[in-house]
């Protein structure tokens, strides 16, 4: 079952200098082409915050957070290559953590929308303390990864801000602690090595939840 909208955010934690991240720097370093930078929209660039959008990617950089957002599914690989390319150049950047954030939005019918919440957090358990309870947000965490890496996994279910009415948003955060890796090459390898598995995991999560929620077709 295809989602109605997909989003991807790559989030790095560490120490950054937001002022250096601007479109002309990306062009200088040949990370993006002139064509891709034609549609740049800069919202703010200062020493503590840099926020701009290029053709298919949005940059949001603060002192301790570097975030690349994309809603174009045909540019997710380009987003990854861009992130890897940036930190291959800025190899001295102290990165401490990285997260894949896959977000899927699904349009449901009104009955499914309510029932989905009921299946995940049965209303029966709330009827004695709330009148006509409904699920608003649900967040689950796996505190340790089952693979060889340190990190965690989080799944957040909430109403979609992009699909309405009756839009369901499933946000999967796949988090890696990079503090054990000293060289940038090894940190970046964590990202490239886990690229396929994070998408497979996302598909597995959404299929599992939507089947349990009796929405899957």
């Amino acid at each position: 079952m295809l989602p109605d909208i997909t989003e991807l955010s790559l989030v790095f934690l560490g120490n950054f200098n937001p002022a250096i991240f601007h479109p002309s720097w990306l062009e200088l370093k040949k990370l993006l082409t002139e064509d891709e930078l034609k549609y740049t929209k800069t919202e703010i660039i200062n020493p503590h915050l840099s926020k701009f959008r290029v053709a298919w990617a949005e940059f949001v950089v603060t002192d301790n957070r570097f975030q690349l957002n994309c809603t174009d599914g045909t540019s997710f690989e380009s987003l990854r290559d861009l992130a890897l390319g940036i930190f291959a150049i800025l190899e001295e950047t102290p990165l401490t953590a990285f997260g894949f954030n896959n977000i899927h939005h699904y349009k449901l019918n009104p009955e499914q929308y309510i029932e989905f919440g009921n299946i995940l957090a049965p209303f029966n358990n709330w009827n004695d303390i709330l009148v006509n309870p409904k699920v608003l947000n649900l967040e689950m965490i796996q505190e340790n990864r089952e693979d060889e890496y340190k990190g965690s996994k989080r799944i957040r279910i909430s109403p979609s801000n992009l699909v309405d009415p009756n839009g369901l948003k499933i946000h999967i955060n796949d988090h890696f602690d990079l503090t054990d890796f000293k060289e940038m090459g090894k940190k970046l390898k964590v990202i490239s090595d886990n690229w396929d598995s994070t998408f497979n995991y996302t598909n597995h999560v959404t299929e599992s939840l939507l089947k349990k929620g009796k929405v899957w077709k």
Partner: protein, 366 residues
Amino acid sequence: MHPNLGIAEINLIGTGGRYGESLLVHLGNNEWIVVDSCINPRTNKILPLELIIEKSIKPEQIKYVICTHWHDDHIKGISKIFEYATDADFVFARANDPKKFFQMLGCDYKKINYYTSNSSTLEFHECIGLLEERNRQPIYAFVDRVIHNTSYLDLPVEIYSLSPSDYSSLKFDEQLSYLMNEFLQSNKKIPYVNPNHRSVALLLKLGQHDVILGSDLQMIKDDNRLGWGHIISSSRTFRGIDTPNYFKIPHHGSENGFIPDLWDNTLSKNATSSMTPWKVGKYELPPQRMVDLYKSYTNDLYITSTPKQSNKPKKRPSKIRKDINQFKANISELRFNYGVVESRIDITNKNSEWTTQIYGTAFKIR
């Protein structure tokens, strides 16, 4: 089933198209060699390794892992086999300038730092890494090189490489420079360059019987300094061959893999012969006219799967198939057809003949 000590066994593993081929050979006396590797693209399982496990071959029983190519397409999974075979020697074709060759491997490997890999030599690179770890020398294959020389019950058990020639190694140097300039910096995948004059062809002396494993080596038109022309004209080892009765036909039975001299004057009549097919675009190997030609030389001819491959698309859910058809109706699948030709012979008995069993999609042509 594991063969007896005095029984040689040759397993030719084919995948039908673009997933490689491999040989698993019992030399006798519980000594095995692996030549190249291939995978099942659906499961990523390494086919020769699966066979090794199935036949209960212990790691220390594998004596050589032989790489007849350096390109990933032909040796997928070989690093895992070499990892398993903790006592094995690693054999590959000599380069005139080994430093340049290792530079190419190193630069190709560096691509992994930047992107999900577009490396084409990852497997070879991993094997070199294992050699380094084990502090073990590789064995360089070249014409008339003795790779293995033992005996069983006073009968010779020997392996010789028949290629590459000195001139081929020289040509490879030039090729390396071209490959490094053209493909490394640009993050392109390195293609495997044809014609193939560098692939390692092997002669096996198994007791009373000689075997030629032709690999992908080709006849190079009008140049006896390369390929099979060099072997026929210049190899001392080849001159000393005693009518081989098993021949793994080179280069998927192509015209360039046909060596008239070998068939007319060297191989025994009705030598057991095997090959794997290949598909390049619309061109399929072996072509029918070559199959007919081989049939005229032997009545014991096997292939691991049919060379005839339809151009049908891959099976997918109908909705996705329809969506793809809107944009790319001509997309066709490179089929995976797993076939094994298993041939055995008593190495102590000169009058013994090869007996062959076929598995999967393999069949006897004649």
